[in-house]
């Protein structure tokens, strides 16, 4: 039941153009691999742990393979060929690698596939376990309240996360240490030294998921856990998330490019693999279009958000994600000094809702226009919460009145929850009384943003997405295709490239 009366032909056109713009990128991702993709294969195959310096064995092994025979055939064949002789990673890294051929190749491939299949089976088991727990504890109705913990110390995060869950959080996000996305390895073990956030590690994932399982039982409501895939290790972190039953992951096709200056090719290749894993794991991804509005103006750039969502959708679908797994991001960032700012925001939020009716949209609170005036901030957050209710958003990040000042205090979070609770309780089903006047400001604004989106996608489809990114179309940040971190980790697949994980994942269960 559309409130905006969008023209289905225009919507279909936008989707067609997004698919056309995405196609060359998908082709590139199909024919390339990266160091992190290959390390993810090793992780699926069961390689864990790190050397005495903290460098994960998967890095040591992939580096050794790359040095000796290159990674263009994938890591699987050389490693499983070498595994005939060396079982222990400590020895394996010192092995002489070769790319097996003929029967050797067949045998190595078979064993690699069996090993990786065991990893994927564990992901499947986790998915089933989640379904079981959702049935047992209960699945909260959307919108889900999404709260952040960020102490830097997993053992401090745990009680804070449990407390947040008890206070009403449906989703707990553990913010990552500021530097992690630029690390080309995933740290190991339980960590206590993060910086404005806690390192994403397999052990931290495990500990937090266990803690939330405990509190889910206590509350009779399954509390979801989320973390960040984006960064140089997107495929590996996605894998670890699947292995440890995380429920959602920040995963955007372009965030790393624009906001972390990661090489565009690297990012696009990594995101495809990581999303194939998420798809299998039943993990809901959260995309990062909200970030664009922190560097670009929320009104001027509204159509870039929609264009990016359509691209994220296309890439997601191609990687096997269902609509219900597409937590497309957007944000309440319109300058509050503008006349009609709230109505404009309702137009944008409703447009996203109607374009992606089955997606669990992630809606971000105001950040850019939050100042030191905490009262003004509390007010703005209230209107954000109301916009969420009126336009049926799915995953609601909770805005902090002190956003312009410091990372959230305990009391900020408590007051923020009081705010959203009041708004939801007071407004109830008010959305059913919200009907944008035909021809009115909201309807016209939504129509205009959609048409600007179509125009933009048209240009992007013609010029190529990589060129658009280089031109600063998204987040007014220019990122040329041949620059940025991690480009040296990109490898063109050779003939005979073999990746058992992709093979299994593309068969679909």
């Amino acid at each position: 039941m559309s409130k905006l009366g969008l023209d289905p032909a225009v919507v279909a056109k936008a989707r067609r153009l997004a698919a056309r713009a995405a196609e060359p990128i998908i082709e590139m991702a199909r024919t390339h691999t990266t160091v992190s993709v290959e390390r993810a294969v090793l992780r699926l195959a069961g390689v864990t742990g790190a050397d005495a310096d903290g460098t994960p064995w998967v890095n040591r092994i992939a580096d050794a393979v790359r040095e000796q025979v290159g990674l263009e055939h994938g890591v699987a064949l050389p490693v499983f060929h070498a595994l005939r002789e060396h079982q222990d990673p400590r020895e394996l890294v010192r092995a002489r690698f070769e790319v097996p051929e003929g029967a050797h190749a067949v045998r190595a491939g078979k064993r690699a596939r069996e090993a990786v299949a065991r990893g994927i089976a564990r992901i499947d088991a986790n998915r089933a376990e989640r379904d079981r727990l959702l049935g047992k504890h209960g699945d909260p109705d959307p919108p889900w309240v999404y709260l952040i913990v960020a102490t830097g110390d997993i053992h401090e995060d745990i009680p804070q996360a449990q407390a947040a869950a008890r206070e009403g959080a449906d989703v707990i996000a553990v913010i990552r240490s500021t530097g992690q996305s630029l690390l080309d390895f995933v740290p190991e073990g339980a960590t206590r030294q993060g910086y404005a956030g806690t390192y994403a590690t397999q052990e931290n994932f495990r500990l937090m998921r266990a803690a939330l399982d405990e509190v889910s039982g206590e509350l009779g409501r399954y509390v979801r856990l989320t973390n960040y895939a984006s960064g140089l290790c997107m495929p590996e972190i996605a894998t670890l998330a699947g292995l440890e039953r995380l429920d959602m992951m920040l995963n955007d096709c372009m965030y790393g490019i624009i906001f972390r200056d990661i090489n565009p090719k690297r990012t696009f290749i990594d995101q495809r693999f990581s999303r194939q894993i998420h798809a299998r794991a039943g993990i809901v991804i959260n995309t990062g279009e909200d970030n664009y509005l922190t560097t670009a103006d929320a009104v001027d750039a509204a159509h870039t958000v929609i264009a990016s969502q359509l691209l994220n959708e296309r890439f997601g679908h191609e990687a096997g994600l269902a609509d219900a797994q597409l937590g497309l991001g957007h944000a309440f960032e319109i300058n509050p000094d503008l006349p009609d700012s709230f109505r404009l925001e309702l137009a944008h939020a409703q447009l996203v809702r109607e374009l992606f009716p089955d997606a669990p949209l992630k809606y971000m609170p105001p950040t850019k226009h939050m100042t030191g005036n905490i009262f003004a901030g509390y007010l703005l957050d209230a209107f954000f919460n109301l916009a969420g209710v009126l336009t049926g958003q799915s995953i609601i990040l909770i805005g902090m009145m002190t956003e312009g000042i410091h990372t959230p205090w305990l009391s900020d979070r408590d007051l923020a929850l009081e705010n959203v609770r009041y708004v939801r309780r007071a407004a109830g089903a008010l959305a059913e009384d919200f009907h944008p006047a035909p021809g009115g400001l909201i309807v016209e604004r939504a129509r205009r943003v959609l048409s600007e989106t179509v125009d933009l996608l048209d240009r992007v489809a013609d010029d190529g997405l990589l060129n658009a990114i280089a031109d600063g179309v998204f987040g007014v940040t220019r990122r040329p295709a041949d620059r940025g971190k991690g480009l040296d980790g990109v490898i063109v697949q050779a003939d005979g490239y073999y990746n058992p994980a992709t093979e299994i994942l593309q068969e679909r269960p």
Partner: protein, 260 residues
């Protein structure tokens, strides 16, 4: 009022997001024009309040002569939590209406007479009505519901002289006054004036409630003073329930009774 002191030594500080960070938020207006000089003045005040370091996160001119500030800072003070002398909530047992009625009937042998009013120009009757009216407060019935309590609720804006006269006329055991308006410390002045008038009117009065009705004051903002300062026998604050008051009346006026 009794006190309790913890035995464990415990020194605490305010908590922002880490133990010991000691962060607090402050806001105030200074009667000076907006600008860097005003901001320095705000930081000087924060410094005197013991905030170090302190940051002005917001400053806003309010007309040409005033500036509003929001400041965050680290409090240098320590709180000796273990050493805190904490007023005990209640120095008497909480009774059921049945017990209250029984106490009055069996010991006093007559109804206990209570006169209530909002005195001075205060017209906020909701608080005293919450204590006296049958309807009550927070699910508890008010004193009118107690069979053995006779309630005279004089309502709002009662003058002290009239209150004394009506208390004498009714032969009141207790006088309950409510004071909600606190501007210019009205509640303090009015209550003191009332206590003095009762002292005058009952020359036999001695502290402790002998020789005059028990004097009880109530209202949401009495937390800066003690009963003795005002010349009354007890103060009740925010969120008081009728049962607490009835139980207190028994403890104070029928002290010989015990629930067993």
């Amino acid at each position: 009022m009794t006190v309790s002191v913890d035995t464990i030594k415990q020194i605490i500080r305010p908590y922002g997001d880490t133990t010991g960070d000691a962060m607090v938020q402050v806001s105030f207006t200074l009667p000076v024009p907006h600008g860097p000089r005003a901001e320095s003045a705000a930081l000087q005040l924060a410094g005197k309040m013991g905030l170090d370091p302190a940051t002005v996160v917001h400053s806003k001119p309010m007309g040409p002569d005033f500036t509003f500030f929001i400041v965050y800072g680290k409090a240098t003070h320590l709180i000796d939590y273990a050493g805190i002398v904490v007023p005990e909530g209640r120095e008497y047992p909480l009774l059921t209406p049945k017990q209250v009625n029984l106490a009055i009937k069996s010991v006093l042998g007559r109804k206990l007479v209570v006169v209530g009013a909002c005195i001075g120009t205060d017209a906020h009757t909701v608080g005293i009505d919450a204590i006296l009216n049958v309807k009550g407060f927070a699910g508890e019935k008010g004193l009118e519901y107690y069979r053995e309590i006779e309630v005279h609720n004089l309502g709002a804006q009662v003058e002290v002289a009239e209150l004394v006269a009506r208390a004498k006329e009714a032969d009141a055991d207790a006088v309950l006054v409510s004071q909600v308006v606190t501007q210019k410390s009205a509640h303090i002045h009015n209550t003191k004036q009332m206590a003095a008038a009762f002292a005058d009117a009952y020359p036999t009065s001695v502290t402790g409630g002998l020789g005059r009705p028990l004097l009880v004051a109530g209202g949401p903002r009495f937390d800066t003073v003690r009963a003795a300062d005002l010349g009354v026998d007890r103060i009740f604050g925010k969120g008081t329930t009728p049962g607490e008051v009835a139980s207190y009346l028994v403890a104070a006026l029928v002290p010989s009774w015990s629930p067993e």
